[in-house]
Symmetry: C3
Subunit: 439 residues, 3 copies
């Protein structure tokens, strides 16, 4: 077991991890996911092959804050046939062709009558858009605008063989137990059907982070949570409202396989340790990355950062939701991702974790004057030199600032010294009995 310091081995592992994540995305892509149901369960089962998962089924109708867990949706078949019995649109080709949570239907209509149930993207005539209607009972199909506009007048048969009935919503968690019960929460929504970047990329990065951590000893415990967007995080939060104080930092992961630069979106408060740490790590490792302010739009940070919850959680993506054309369309498929990009995202998360692990607050146990470092072998024995070596300066900075409120990262920033030097100085001082971690 190693401490969570990133070494050459970790970096060397990145390419292999990237390839494995990309393969996982391809494998999960066809499963008919929704916010409940068989596709979601199959996805969770596959993730459970990689790391052990605790799976919770929450029955339909369970009240969760202002919501109730919805009925479960199953779908066997869905298509539109023209007058000649030719299938114009078929869920067998892509899960996106059916509006999520469509009620069952088997009816024959004129094209004009059918039109209100059809969704397309005129600006991208080859792409199929993604649509859902979880809470208003309706049915519909999504199709390429090129197909839609080529349909002749006539009668069409629309068939959706679905069931919406009491069942359950599936939550899956992996807990990596660290030295303390303080937790880092990592969340990836797993309800989107055949979309790769949103959010199989986040799912794949999260599960491979969990797999990596299994080989490592950590200070924090790390909880990886896979759940449907919105209702999944709300359900989990409602069930764990009493335990949230153990969450010290958190990240929502999504959109990590595309080509854009990293975007870290701050927590609601905007100045939590995760915000400062993620900003520092990304600035150093990815100069083109951006830090953006919180807004109550996006992914499940909307729930984790609601005013009654207000967790110290940020969000890591590459180009954010809605800002690239393939978003929520059939063009967001596995070919849109690259293994190298997934690997880089995985490594960026590990860098953030490593920085969180090493960023501690200490109390100087000899705070009156400087302690005598010389007799502890921590200081050169001759005096009078013009300059102080950086290693000794780092010791002095850590001692001077460690009043229990200032973190090592803060000290590195104030001192203008590399974090590694400050962190190493703290370790020496702790060994020498001059420093104790702050409660």
């Amino acid at each position: 077991m190693h401490r969570l310091t990133l070494d050459d081995g970790t970096i060397a592992e990145t390419a292999e991890r990237g390839a494995a994540m990309h393969a996982l995305v391809r494998e999960l892509f066809p499963l008919p996911r929704s916010i409940t149901g068989a596709g979601l369960r199959a996805t969770v089962r596959r993730l459970g092959d990689i790391v052990p998962l605790e799976v919770t089924e929450v029955p339909s109708g369970t009240p969760v804050f202002d919501w109730h867990v919805p009925n479960e949706w199953s779908i066997d078949e869905a298509f539109i046939e023209d007058g000649h019995g030719r299938r114009i649109v078929d869920i067998a080709a892509s899960n996106l062709h059916v509006v999520g949570y469509s009620v069952p239907v088997d009816t024959t209509l004129t094209l004009q009558e059918l039109r209100p149930h059809l969704h397309s993207m005129p600006e991208r005539p080859d792409w199929v858009p993604y649509r859902t209607s979880y809470y208003a009972p309706t049915w519909g199909f999504c199709l390429a605008d090129g197909v839609l506009t080529s349909l002749p007048e006539g009668r069409y048969r629309a068939v959706i063989r679905s069931r919406i009935a009491p069942g359950s919503l599936t939550l899956a968690e992996h807990l990596h137990v660290g030295a303390t019960t303080d937790e880092v929460l990592v969340f990836a929504h797993d309800c989107h059907p055949s979309l790769a970047n949103d959010n199989l990329s986040g799912v794949a990065v999260a599960v491979h982070l969990a797999a990596y951590l299994r080989q490592r000893a950590t200070r924090y415990s790390y909880r990886f949570l896979f759940a449907p967007a919105t209702i999944g995080s709300i359900t989990w939060l409602a069930r764990h409202a009493a335990d949230l104080s153990r969450i010290r930092h958190g990240l929502v992961l999504s959109l990590l396989g595309g080509a854009g630069p990293f975007h870290y979106k701050k927590s609601r408060d905007g100045n939590r340790p995760i915000d400062r740490t993620a900003g520092r790590v990304l600035r150093a490792a990815h100069p083109d990355s951006r830090v953006v302010e919180f807004s109550p739009w996006g992914y499940d940070e909307r729930q984790f950062c609601s005013p009654g919850i207000n967790l110290p959680m940020g969000r890591l993506t590459r180009t954010p939701n809605g800002e690239f054309p393939e978003y929520h369309t059939s063009a967001d498929n596995p070919d849109f991702l690259a293994g190298g990009q997934l690997g880089e995202a995985w490594l960026a998360c590990l860098r953030i974790f490593a920085a969180l692990e090493s960023d501690r607050r200490y109390v100087n146990l000899q705070p009156n004057g400087e302690p005598q470092l010389g007799r502890r072998g921590l200081y050169r024995t001759t005096g009078g030199h013009r300059h102080v070596p950086e290693r000794q300066l780092a010791l002095l900075w850590v001692l001077n600032q460690s009043d229990g409120t200032v973190s090592l990262q803060d000290i590195a920033d104030r001192a203008g010294l590399p974090f590694s030097l400050i962190s190493e100085a703290a370790a020496h001082l702790e060994t020498a009995g001059l420093l104790a971690e702050a409660p």
Copy 2:
């Protein structure tokens, strides 16, 4: 009764109000005002024709904080005659010709003996300056320097038929009762004699604001206070020291009829809601307006913002006191003002009031996660769209930020959305039972 939202009707009313205010200034101009006495009472009587006023007479000698209410000053006649009995200077021509609170005199002097009692402005030889001596018993005349320098040597008779005797100081108030007892205090000093911009403009705007509000239902109560400068506000404050906590916002009004851009002068603390609101309103409606820092010089904000009182009151003027040549001279007459400018000032004040009225703090009643907006008809029923409509984003922002400490204006600023959208979102959420106004 309407809510205090400004509509086309309000804006259309501006020109008419401007003309009425200008006419009022012309009518009040000749009255022989001072910090006490008949001219002040006649002024208040005229204002009472426009809105009901509660008039308080505070007897001379009443202790008010560090001061006493002064004796009352009356004046029947005042002139200087030359050796031929020609009146060189006569109060009948302008109230400015006599130093305010001059003691009675009837004496014949050489020009040289007279000179220390004469005030002129060599740099503006045609204008008569304004001078007072409320607390040091003396007498004097103000006259054009051109007249003064043309006086031949010889003997002159100076006559002032005044009385300084126990009486009372006149305070006048109009209270517009709103839905709450929280108050907006509007103050205009009404003691200056024949000066139009300082401060008949402030008096006219204040009384027409009061008249307008009578047609409207408001959340705040609005108190319009007309009182002599300095001693008037001190007297009022001393009598109401126990009730000042109900004053949530306030404005001192003066110099509103001239041609310069609006100047909002901040409260002593500089970051009260009135400061932020007035700044926002003026920036939006009058890009050439300026916001200036507090200083303890100027008008009655000196009293309202003294350290023991420290009310959240700013001051609205156009070009400030002392910064235009006509200030405190006979050139500050009704022709120096324009009805359009008075109307614009009246409307600017209403805009500030409307912004204060609508800027509330709310508490999200479902603060854990987002509430289910869809089932309340507040959210579109299909999901998956690339962009969120601004109206829905406004709902999310209001919900996310409403922890009871953040105002709607603050939310609009943080969200970068128009205030109207945020305010409307809050109204919808309140109707839906998701939001309650913060106590």
Copy 3:
């Protein structure tokens, strides 16, 4: 007795003080100082001729925080002889030639065996460096690199006749008693042997500040502390830990006789009154001066600003330690200093003291509205003027801001008025009974 306001006399005295300080530096230069011992005691004795000193001898072995007072070091003789009995290096030429706290030795060695005990500066072949080894028992010599490199192979005799034995550490203090027991602490380390700027310059300036203050009445008490670096300040702090709260401001003085601009180094907190005052004074009097952030490296501010002590103490130097080539070498001799520069430093310190003395916080005793200044003769008796004289504006600012938390310097900054005007206004208001000094 005069108040501590700097007048023409003070400024005229600067040149004479500068010359006296320079002479004192020359006189003290040859004494064999170390952190204990005879040279230190002789130095203190000489300072006691200038101002009365309370001298404390703290026995070796006394525990002081994390340290113990070290044994006392005495040295009678130290030299290196070549094979011909010629003295290559001799402490008689300069105290710098022996590593401070060298243990006794009398041995004959080859040049190669001797080399590890020899310290030189190859980059400055004519200069002798300064080295110490207080806490690791060893011996050594410092010499010019030109001498070292010219030594032929052969055998050399190294002799150090020193004793390290129980004795005591010498602290010397002068307390100037002011009107209050609140103290300004001035610290100069006095342990460096034949080095002029570091720190006979600080010692000389401190003792002449003490001498000057003896002629003056002050509000604060001023404590001048002369002690060895590090162990001296630690020893003093350990003995006075209970009384440190009386120290309201402090300055560490060093490196004041060279040619560079003043550098004020901030206290650990960085925003104490001493930081703001020193910054203001230096900006005004020495536009080329610099204010630098705190760091835990340098002189005894390291101890005074340790986290458990955290006194409001800054440091005044000219070019800081390590930033000029002569630092800690034989080139830092009395000729490196100039009397004018010492005098200028002395005056800069007095300016800081004067600013501290006059920077008070007051409470307005008539805080409700403005008090009636006219009846107290503090306000012009005629009203209506366009502009307010600065003297009256200063009165209004002091009254408006004096709630007990804001200092006169802060008021001057906010008002944009000269401090002298604000200070004078406060004096008038205090005399008038309108202002009381804040507790």
